[in-house]
């Protein structure tokens, strides 16, 4: 819900341009189509583009405290706001709206940055303290909502999305080579880096304070994994009961809205569980939304249908045909603001359009369950490889690896041959990032396509070293599953999934997603569950499946994991899209951007054209290279900072001194 933006002068009250703030919020129109507001004084400008969800009639932002010495612009929801408000009323605070935004402001008045610990929600907000002349920015624990910033010409500029920051002409726009190296290793950038030089994201679980000419960024929350000794000793039954309770409450408070709330339904365990909790306990009239694909190997229609009839919900779906996916790839990138190695975000971008057209502003989704409950194969694989490392010659042990990937190893002959392939790195069991090395090493092979210039610009940078250095002190005391989950949550979940497959593609059509599995109480409790319960034998998400027994049909809980994927080659190089793709990847085009080896890309295209089913890596190469080129054109080359129409915010609070009012 919403987009926020602002400018703060590091060198004193030298004035802020109103039109700059106005242009910045216009770039966020898709995030906040309902109303806009600005606060501006001699030192700071705050802007808000609002998607009204709570308090439709009076929650216009920016919102102030009792004596107008504090102002807030806020993107997100704090689901426990009614309880927090009760407490604040008792302490004597007065409110003029019924919004959750105002609650945060008063809580900040009381407790400063400490207030963040009490917020159960998803948020990115900025508070301006007029008396102290201090700007405070904060982001939620796992990065469900975004906020970015840069320092330019003695100003700190921040915004929900990078395109908003770029509306300031003086901000330099350039792709960051290190970021590209990171994306072609980790599938995403590593916070605080973004795809663009000198543009940062405030990392999840952090806040930023700007006072005078100093900017200080601090962490306020870490994923609470525990060493074995501190893990819970409840029985499996008790753990499942507690999880059910926590999830029910996480869902309950996430249904708080003054507008209708829907649910995404893929037919998989995670979203089915959420839909079931809503339909059975809170809303028997639930509306759900899902995606259908052309090809069976991507489509989950059969399972969606089962859930729809099981719950009796009102279900709508989009047909994400290969043509449509390819056609929507550039727009999706415009919203994701970073190169992608997959087309998976695109159907989600298309789905949010359907949601919007059906009159919904909010949906609950199943994101986060895999990371919090140990759902990915990479977790099981880490376990298996460690087991295997004890007796590396064992064929039987090696065979277990093949069991992990039935959808890749459909050919039984492959299992045998790949023994040595997976054995690679077996000896590195002491490396803290052991669990993810195979995936990252494999992806890194894509760097063969980098041009000489790009390679030179990247130099000796080593992403693995950066990751190792960033690990918390307690990390080495955790069990291997917790370690793998930590890496997955901080890198894959926060920087890729929640952003490119979550917030950005939903907000593109003014839809807010809410993620019950990432309620911090759920994360906290799951982190305490002993590893042996999280993955029992080879059964991933064992605890979650048991928690849903009786609530979901056996055909859903017993289903093997179907990783959500979208076609790549078939979308980007089909009859309708091939011409466009090949033009973007032509010699002339590539020479102009200078990022990739022209001959190798030609070789890639030649190979891919001939194959019906290119390899995973070839597909990622196609998507990755194409998306780098598109991002370059959209943000660096062709970006427009001027607008053709005048902007009139619904609310302008102008506290500038007369002398500086003329600064436009």
């Amino acid at each position: 819900m919403c987009g926020i933006a602002g400018i703060y002068n590091l060198n004193g009250p030298t004035g802020v341009s109103l039109s700059a703030i106005e242009r910045m919020i216009t770039a966020l129109h898709h995030r906040g189509p309902d109303e806009t507001g600005v606060y501006i004084d001699d030192r700071v400008g705050l802007g808000n583009a609002r998607l009204s969800i709570i308090d439709l009639s009076s929650g216009t932002q920016p919102i102030h405290n009792e004596d107008e010495t504090m102002w807030i612009v806020y993107n997100g929801e704090t689901f426990n706001y009614p309880e927090l408000k009760q407490d604040l009323l008792r302490r004597g605070h007065r409110f003029y709206t019924t919004s959750d935004t105002e609650v945060i402001l008063h809580l900040y008045e009381e407790e400063g940055a400490e207030c963040l610990r009490q917020l159960n929600g998803q948020f990115a907000f900025a508070i301006w303290d007029v008396t102290k002349s201090e700007l405070f920015l904060a982001r939620d624990r796992v990065g469900i909502r975004p906020v970015h910033y840069t320092v330019c010409d003695n100003t700190l500029i921040f915004a929900s999305e990078i395109k908003s920051i770029f509306m300031n002409e003086s901000v330099h726009r350039e792709l960051d080579p290190i970021a590209i190296d990171q994306i072609f290793t980790f599938w995403t950038t590593l916070a605080p880096r973004t795809a663009f030089k000198d543009i940062y994201e405030l990392p999840p679980g952090h806040h930023l304070t700007a006072r005078g000419d100093r900017i200080v960024v601090k962490r306020y929350w870490e994923i609470p994994f525990r060493p074995r000794a501190e893990q819970s000793n409840l029985s499996v039954r008790e753990v499942c009961d507690e999880i059910q309770e926590l999830l029910r409450d996480a869902v309950r408070i996430r249904l708080r809205a003054d507008v209708p709330v829907g649910c995404y339904l893929s037919g998989g365990l995670d979203s089915s569980g959420i839909a079931a909790i809503i339909a059975r306990n809170f809303d028997s009239d639930l509306t759900t939304f899902g995606i259908r694909f052309e090809e069976d190997r991507f489509d989950e229609g059969e399972h969606q249908k089962k859930m729809v009839s099981f719950l009796g919900v009102d279900h709508s779906e989009i047909r994400a045909t290969n043509d449509r996916i390819g056609a929507a790839f550039p727009d999706t990138l415009w919203h994701c603001e970073k190169p992608l190695l997959r087309t998976a975000p695109v159907p989600l971008f298309m789905l949010s359009k359907l949601v919007h057209e059906n009159g919904f502003k909010v949906v609950l989704t199943g994101e986060g369950a895999d990371e919090v409950f140990g759902g990915y194969n990479i977790f099981r694989e880490a376990k298996v490889r460690r087991f295997w490392a004890k007796y590396p010659q064992s064929q039987r042990r090696a065979g277990l690896v093949g069991q992990l990937y039935p959808y890749i190893f459909k050919d039984p002959r492959l299992k045998r041959t790949l023994g040595p392939f997976f054995a690679k790195g077996l000896d590195k069991t002491d490396d803290p990032i052991f669990s993810h090395l195979i995936r990252w090493e494999n992806t890194s092979r894509l760097k063969t396509f980098f041009s000489q210039e790009l390679k030179a610009a990247i130099g000796q940078y080593c992403g693995y070293e950066q990751v190792r250095r960033s690990l918390p002190d307690a990390y080495e005391k955790w069990d291997i599953l917790s370690k793998a989950q930590y890496l997955e949550m901080t890198i894959f979940l926060s920087n890729y999934l929640l952003s490119s497959q979550g917030d950005r593609v939903a907000m593109a059509h003014s839809v807010e997603i809410r993620v019950p599995y990432l309620d911090f109480r759920v994360i906290d409790f799951a982190g305490r569950v002993p590893a042996k319960w999280r993955i029992l034998g080879m059964r991933e998400k064992h605890i979650l499946k048991r928690s849903f027994q009786g609530i979901l049909p056996e055909s859903i809980t017993g289903r093997p994991k179907h990783p959500y994927r979208a076609p790549i080659k078939q979308s980007l190089l089909n009859q309708k899209t091939a011409e466009y793709t090949e033009e973007m990847l032509s010699r002339q085009s590539l020479e102009k951007t200078g990022l990739f080896d022209v001959n190798k890309v030609a070789g890639l295209l030649q190979k891919i054209r001939k194959l019906d089913n290119p390899s995973e890596l070839d597909n990622m190469a196609l998507a990755g290279i194409l998306s780098c080129e598109l991002i370059y054109h959209q943000f660096v080359d062709d970006f427009r900072t001027r607008l053709d129409f005048p902007i009139c915010p619904d609310l302008v609070i102008d506290r500038r001194s007369e002398a500086l009012k003329h600064l436009n």
Binding site: D411, R413, R416, T417, P420, K600, L617
Partner: protein
């Protein structure tokens, strides 16, 4: 007969996208990351189709497939 040249061309075109400078006869595919898991399948199919042989399960081992040299020796043995 030496099968290195033919196999080399295939590997360079399909997995190295034209850049075969560092691929020596004894370069280990696995170690140097020349071929990934699906790449292995492509390579096996290429050999079977090009040389009209069927590679048995127990022949799918690094000694037969992990370098240009190894492949050449293996194919030689199979078709003489």
């Amino acid at each position: 007969m030496d099968y290195v040249a033919t196999v080399r061309d295939f590997v360079v075109a399909n997995f190295l996208f034209g850049d075969g400078e560092l691929l020596k006869e004894d370069t280990s595919f696995m170690e140097k990351g020349v071929v990934d898991s699906t790449g292995m399948l492509e390579l096996i199919m290429f050999l079977e189709e090009t040389y009209n042989i069927k590679i048995e399960d127990d022949e799918l081992v690094p000694e037969n497939l992990d370098s240009l040299q190894n492949i050449s020796r293996f194919v030689s043995r199979r078709i003489g």
